[in-house]
Symmetry: C2
């Protein structure tokens, strides 16, 4: 590999001039510039990134730490991030978290290793210790689908979104509406399900409807889990007339189970999902659509702003999910 020194010699200029041509900083005589550019081409020169990083103290790398990479929501956000980063000089480092141990490992090592310029955290709640560490290491951070007073974020108002969904069901005349979600407590301490449950309660309360513990199910985050919970609900002495599922995956399970039990949807049982995954339009699922790619895009935007000059106050964006009325509710 050619070095800047060799290019300089070859073009009969100093290294400073070559550097100025590469980074087109300050004034270089057009003729000189042309000579340098020819030398670069002839020697097939590319600046050494490591040397550059050493002196500029920039890695041109953005870290993305996210749980459960394979789930549609996270991949879609990631895709939005990737698309937004593409036209920039930054590369994307991904860190997939599947257990609390790995979570801790990353949050302890990442800030300190000096391998990223900025960090995007998806869905994982930040503890104060994490925030302090990131701040100490001067790593601009953005939370996607999360919130912390000191950190810029682009979140979803899950309470309001759920309330919208449940009020839609109420508006369609339903009075016995069940709630179904993934686990309310797991080791990674996700907040989503809890927030959606709160939104559900808020909607009921706002319309003077009672909430019953037996109408609230939470369980494993799979299609099958949705099916099982639906069985529970339908076997109730007084079963619900509508089910709000906090994720489309569960809603699909519910749909499947309802059909298998010979119920008509939405006449006998209405089903509403959350997420609007790729499959949703195809099975005609009424659901809440989250702007996943947009969240990723906006997250990158917020991070880039911080990468320039840290604004005094962290910006908190809140996006709203929109209701997509289809055939199941």
């Amino acid at each position: 590999m050619a070095t800047i020194k060799e290019v300089a010699q070859h073009a009969r200029v100093g290294v400073g001039t070559v550097s100025r041509v590469i980074n087109n900083a300050s004034a270089v005589h057009p003729e000189t510039r042309a000579r340098v550019q020819r030398a670069i081409l002839e020697l097939d020169y590319y600046p050494n990134q490591a040397a550059r990083q050493l002196v500029t103290a920039q890695t041109l790398t953005i870290g993305v730490i996210l749980p459960f990479l394979v789930r549609p929501f996270y991949v879609n956000v990631l895709q939005g991030i990737a698309a937004a980063v593409l036209p920039s000089p930054y590369h994307l480092n991904i860190f997939n978290v599947e257990t609390a141990a790995i979570r801790s490992y990353y949050f302890e090592e990442l800030p300190v290793r000096g391998r990223i310029d900025g960090l995007i955290v998806i869905s994982l709640p930040l503890e104060q210790a994490d925030v302090d560490r990131l701040r100490g290491a001067r790593i601009p951070t953005v939370l996607i689908d999360g919130w912390h007073p000191e950190i810029a974020s682009v979140g979803m108002d899950n309470r309001a979104g759920t309330r919208l969904a449940v009020e839609y069901l109420i508006g369609r005349g339903h009075r016995r509406i069940a709630f179904m979600s993934g686990p309310l407590d797991e080791e990674l301490h996700f907040q989503v399900n809890r927030h959606r449950l709160e939104g559900y309660h808020a909607a009921l309360a706002a319309h003077d409807l009672h909430s019953y513990p037996s109408m609230e199910q939470s369980g494993v985050d799979t299609y099958a889990g949705g099916g099982w919970m639906t069985e529970q609900l339908l076997d109730l002495p007084v079963p619900p007339t509508a089910i709000f599922a906090a994720s489309d995956v569960h809603a699909l399970g519910a749909l499947q189970t309802a059909v298998r039990r010979g119920l008509r949807v939405p006449e006998d049982i209405a089903i509403m999902g959350y997420d609007d995954i790729e499959l949703a339009p195809y099975v005609n699922l009424t659901t809440m659509c989250q702007p996943m790619a947009e969240m990723g895009r906006r997250g990158v935007e917020l991070l880039m702003e911080q990468l320039g000059a840290e604004p005094p106050q962290p910006i908190h964006d809140v996006l709203m999910a929109t209701l997509v009325p289809r055939g199941t509710a």
Copy 2:
């Protein structure tokens, strides 16, 4: 940030000794080592990555270039890769390709930028120019779901897998078996669909069955696409008794359409998929299961071997898909 020099002064040793402690290379007196380690702790020292990279010429970064990040197959392979890389010191850079232009951009820039030590390419066929460039830049490369004589790879035998699937249908007594896949020609030049079509032909030929162009559909890669193609097939004067879909997404579309048209599956029409996506067991889809995470894991393994010492001959692994008999065929 503390530097190695400060640590050395603080521990009253030379920088060389500190370096030896950090990288536990060669002999350091236990007492000295302890003193250095204490100094490191007290000064909260972490080696500067950029400086390290500069002198070792290693980035400790592996690039993964893959198309259509959001599709289940790619995410799952990526997850396997991420899991395999986790215990190593390497980080993962992902490059999502959605158009031929972006593909070219990455393949031209990546080798030359000196930001990755090795590259994993998923599904994207390599042109000779790409191979030469990668070789020229001394970037060890592994192909996942791809093949090139000069590059190590872990691939799927899509012809054999498809043949297995179609022969299973033949074994169940089917004689009019349709084929359905994504586009045979698109700008990224994927080979899968073509290979699966070849496997389909081979299976028919081996059992003296005719193949008819009208029984071979290819179209867009969505659930809806599968539905449309199924309509075409079922509207044929002599419709098929079984459909082999080259992906589960299409199979799901077929299933949906068949049910909507009041056909019993598998009695009136048998449906076989390919991939075994998360949804497949839940809708009881008979399909071919690809060891996606395993492909990722094995790809990393092959790359790591090359990262040590380049073996003279590239290793070509071929994994087989396994048939998962369920309720639709």
